[in-house]
């Protein structure tokens, strides 16, 4: 008596619940041998098996493997890679297959390119493993490949886009540096008259010295040592200011190095000495003791100070008791506002050690309306010929290149305070901490 269909299914199910999984598969294959071929064929990955004892001839070649290699099963079975692929590719596959058998363990090829007989190149991620048939004492190599050509193409496109982006970024930075340089050269023009005046004074002294010496001196002229000392000092002074101007004008590229701020501020004050004196401005430089060096481009940072000093001088024109304060101290960033820049590692972050420099004047201040536009290129309240309006936009650009911050505010007592935040230069210890032996946090 044969059981009804439903009863048979019922019997299989009840057996399935109690039987171990390998038994279920065994029974399934015994009842329907073609199911294995169907499973293999419907796998979403390419699968092949090669007989290691027979010249690595193909013994299994699934549907997906047909698709990606464009080689039909009937042309693959019983053949070696040398029949199907280029000599170079086949040679490589053979080496890997032999290595898999020799080592007796799984082998992963994260990326391999093969030329298909269909003419196209495809990228595969392949895993190969040895299979030992102990009953028949035979060895096979099983391979599973995944077509990663689309991912590789996207990656290549991204790489290309990235190259374009890097190039565009380089060009942008180059243009910015050119703009900074152009602005600097314009300020050199504006400073020239003042610098000439500052150089003429030591020259006047030198001429006085020469006149004295030329009019005949005796060996024990009591004035002689003093004259020579004064002349030597005058030469050093003229040299200092000319060298300062040359250094200021040079250096087109951005070169960030560890520098002390005070000598830089002193040099900026030397270049603007004439303007400051003409404006009858009292200057106070207040630097915290042992201020750490900052990570800056010397010439560009000096450009910032010259620019800000000149701005302050202009803002204090005609004001009573003009006073310029340059105040610097070190601190740590307590909290960075959440903006675009703050999210990247290259910008200032909470806890970063910084130096804050404030350039404070007691001039006319900035109206609320102008404060909004103050960093806009070509915005200026100065008369034609006095300024192009590029100054502060360039100052901000230079600060951005230093990954620093700039802000402006009206002071309660009148005038403006410009605040610069600059990263402290990394110490030798910082560099060591960044290295391969960095301690885990």
């Amino acid at each position: 008596m044969s059981a009804p269909e439903g009863a048979k299914t019922q019997r299989l199910s009840s057996k399935a619940i109690s039987a171990p999984p390998e038994q279920i598969l065994h029974d399934l294959l015994a009842e329907s041998p073609s199911i294995l071929a169907s499973i293999v064929d419907n796998l979403p990955v390419a699968l092949f098996v090669k007989d290691a004892d027979h010249d690595f001839r193909v013994v299994l070649w699934n549907k997906k493997q047909e698709d990606i290699t464009t080689i039909p099963r009937e042309k693959a079975l019983g053949r070696t890679d040398f029949h199907m692929f280029s000599q170079e590719s086949a040679q490589y596959f053979r080496q890997v297959d032999e290595a898999v058998v020799r080592r007796g363990k799984l082998f992963e090829i994260p990326e391999e390119i093969i030329s298909t007989p269909g003419g196209g190149d495809i990228w595969l991620k392949t895993t190969k493993a040895p299979v030992f048939d102990t009953t028949r004492n035979r060895t096979f190599v099983i391979g599973i490949s995944e077509d990663i050509t689309p991912q590789i193409r996207v990656r290549e496109q991204l790489k290309e886009l990235n190259t374009h982006l890097t190039l565009a970024n380089q060009q942008l930075q180059e243009t910015q540096l050119q703009l900074i340089q152009a602005e600097k050269m314009e300020s050199v023009g504006r400073l020239a008259a003042g610098v000439a005046h500052e150089v003429k004074n030591p020259l006047a002294l030198l001429l006085m010295g020469v006149e004295y010496l030329a009019s005949g001196i005796t060996e024990n002229d009591p004035n002689l040592p003093e004259i020579l000392t004064e002349m030597r000092d005058a030469i050093a002074r003229a040299d200092r200011i000319i060298r300062g101007l040359v250094d200021y004008s040079s250096s087109r590229q951005l070169s960030l190095e560890s520098h002390e701020l005070l000598p830089l501020v002193e040099n900026a004050l030397l270049l603007t000495r004439h303007e400051v004196r003409k404006g009858n401005i009292n200057v106070e430089v207040i630097f915290e003791k042992d201020l750490p060096p900052v990570f800056i481009d010397l010439a560009k940072m000096e450009q910032i100070f010259v620019n800000l000093i000149i701005n302050a001088v202009h803002a204090m024109e005609g004001r009573p008791r003009p006073n310029l304060e340059i105040y610097a101290y070190a601190t740590r960033i307590p909290e960075v506002e959440r903006d675009e820049g703050a999210r990247t590692a290259r910008h200032l972050r909470s806890g970063d050690e910084v130096v804050i420099v404030e350039i404070r004047d007691n001039g006319s201040g900035i109206s609320e309306e102008n404060m909004q536009k103050i960093f806009d290129p070509f915005f200026t309240t100065k008369a034609t010929g006095v300024g192009t309006g590029l100054g502060l936009s360039v100052v901000r650009k230079i600060i951005e290149l230093h990954r620093g911050r700039i802000s402006l505010r009206n002071r309660v007592s009148g005038g403006v305070a410009v605040s610069l935040t600059l990263k402290v230069a990394p110490t030798v210890q910082d560099e060591l901490d960044k290295g391969p032996f960095k301690k885990k946090q």
């Binding site: 003429k200 006047a204 009019s215 004035n223 000092d233 003409k278 009858n280």
Partner: protein, 126 residues
Amino acid sequence: MSKKILIIDDEAGFTKLLRMNLERNGDYEVMIENHSVHALKTAQAFQPDLVLLDLVMPGLDGGDVAALFQADPKLKKVPVIMLTALVAHGETSTGSVAQAAGVTVLPKPVEMATLRSCITDILEKS
């Protein structure tokens, strides 16, 4: 009696060497004032026959000092030679405003021969 010259200039080294040159080759009594804010007081005490005045100075500039002298009855007639690094050679002999106002302007650096003849001329005239 030697003539009295007052130099008002904040460039201490320059004034020192200028005085040496003036005293060596001329019969002058020279006084230096490096701080323009004290210029009036020094001039009132010294009563110079001629003033050599710098233009760009911190505190009071040359113009301010000249104005103070103009307002002082004992100093208003004292001739002034302005020495400045601001003007270029060639700009001084073109009948400038300064000359019109009776002030002689000489550019720095100045040669002693030029300065000396200028001083002599002015002192002879006054």
